[in-house]
Symmetry: C2
Subunit: 311 residues, 2 copies
């Protein structure tokens, strides 16, 4: 941080969700500490399907709040500090005068999760280092062992272990619950900008279309899902899609890029102000699926801040 | 917040832990978003047993850093904002001039967790509303349905649902891993004060005894576990144990209070400066197991800050 930032307020809240009641399970003996062994009764009431939101409000803020929605298999930590220890986008946007809200969606991070299989369908999945390496376009799968990234790629591969430590399991069945909790967060925050990544990019689109009066602008960082219902509510609203480099590295990405271009065009046809950025075309080369962590993340943030403030 | 607080720095890091390699599992088809269905290969490398630490450093800080260790079934959110929306202790200590570090221990909150049963022994347990009600001494078990707390108790029972949303599953088998990650966090932070709650109270004691040169003072808020090895390293060091009210409500608490008194005496015998506070005896009545959330949490924090600064 170059300058101290004065906070008028900071804190956190949980939002959305519901109470479930678990019944019919057996009491288990659990050793909680070296001094306490306890008859744990799993039956009872639990809060599930909520999100956690942490906020920081700069003193004298005049810019719109920015809500950061993480991607799949991650939590809000991805916006705080890069794996190699540089300021994350939440910090850069805060220093630019925006109140920042960082969400941990349903089942992720400080939202907690539910261990009873009767509540969420299916099993949790966690992303391996190898899968992240290939899927996030750090390098070719066969170069993982040597940690040799694509020529010119900018993810700090020397900090890969720190990145892995931020991974979080997820249930594939929870997308709609996560979208509902994001909308609940936006309703509590009020009119704001949504910056959303990857899997969370779809959640952000759902929210922007469902609450156009509350989402002043949508910034999708390589979103990986595109809601099907009518996009008529996008008319007159701003949508920015941001793409890194190495987009032809895998068939998955070739397909997603085509979908992003098509979706942006669909939004434009109903009167949205919709743009797709290929960062390389802006002179910002070598970005991966994680431009908020890559070397040069500061320059990408600065471009997005300029775009937001040129409204 | 009465006054804006100027931050010289803030951010987060993960610390401790290890890489595990999962092998021999079957590839599964997973629908990650409405547009991406993926062959998920669970085999590969994962980071486990680490903690997450978020920090805020006030501009011009001259006081020692304070590391907040949550209790069992909770994460670092417990120190941020009370369930009824008042500033948490992390904020009050920051405003008093301390750099604050809030940990999410192994398997909790933003530390993430490991869904492969071959990595951690046993199954995760989650605390129900009913168990929390009785165990945290909000009221009698039979008064849970009516949400009628003990006469004079100060937990904001009208915000019980918000409190439940902050609960986190845990593995009873992870205590030693959590203690190791806490020690790794302290080694990274440097000399600091440890404020630890309930199950985390034991982790804090283990750390204070293992790294006496780095733990300037230990504040245990109703700790529920007491490490057995030699306490000789406590000589000359400061230990404060803080107890709320309604301590005779359950046999569990009657037993724990006796253990706290005995442990504090053991520490004193080897030359530690060890104190036990019963908040009611200080004129702070009606506190539960959650004095950092009770109405009057500000007054409890102020007493602890006075104690720390009278060193």
């Amino acid at each position: 941080m170059t300058q101290p930032v004065a906070l008028a307020d900071w804190g956190s809240f949980h939002v959305g969700g519901r109470i479930v009641e678990i019944a019919g399970r057996t009491i288990e003996k659990v050793r909680f500490t070296s001094s306490v062994t306890f008859d744990w009764n799993p039956n009872g009431r639990y809060h599930v399907d909520h999100a956690y939101v942490q906020y920081m409000i700069p003193a004298g803020a005049t810019r719109l709040p920015v809500l950061f929605q993480h991607g799949g298999g991650l939590s809000g930590t991805m916006w705080e500090t890069t794996p190699d220890g540089r300021p994350g986008w939440a910090r850069l946007f805060l220093e630019a005068g925006h109140p920042v809200y960082v969400i941990d969606g349903v089942e992720r991070g400080r939202a907690g999760w539910c261990p009873f299989p009767e509540v969420w369908e299916g099993s949790p999945v966690l992303r391996s280092a190898e899968e992240a390496w290939a899927l996030f376009r750090f390098g070719r799968a066969e170069d993982f062992a040597a940690r040799r990234g694509f020529a010119g790629q900018r993810f700090p591969v020397e900090a890969l272990d720190a990145f892995l430590a931020a991974f979080s399991p997820r249930w594939a069945s929870n997308n709609e619950r996560a979208q509902a909790a994001l909308i609940a967060a936006i309703e509590r925050i009020g009119r704001c900008i949504v910056v959303a990544h990857s899997q969370g990019g779809e959640h952000g689109l759902v929210a922007a279309l469902a609450r156009p009066e509350l989402v002043a602008a949508y910034v999708g960082i390589e979103p990986s899902g595109f809601p099907e219902p009518s996009v008529a509510s996008a008319a007159g609203h701003r949508f920015l899609f941001v793409l890194g480099d190495f987009l032809d590295a895998t068939p998955l990405w070739t397909g997603l890029v085509a979908k992003i271009d098509a979706y942006a065009a669909t939004l434009a046809r109903v009167g949205a102000r919709s743009e797709v950025w290929r960062l390389a075309a802006l002179g910002l080369h070598g970005h991966t699926h994680m431009p908020m962590m890559d070397r040069g993340s500061e320059a990408v943030a600065a471009r997005i801040l300029d775009w937001l403030n040129a409204a």
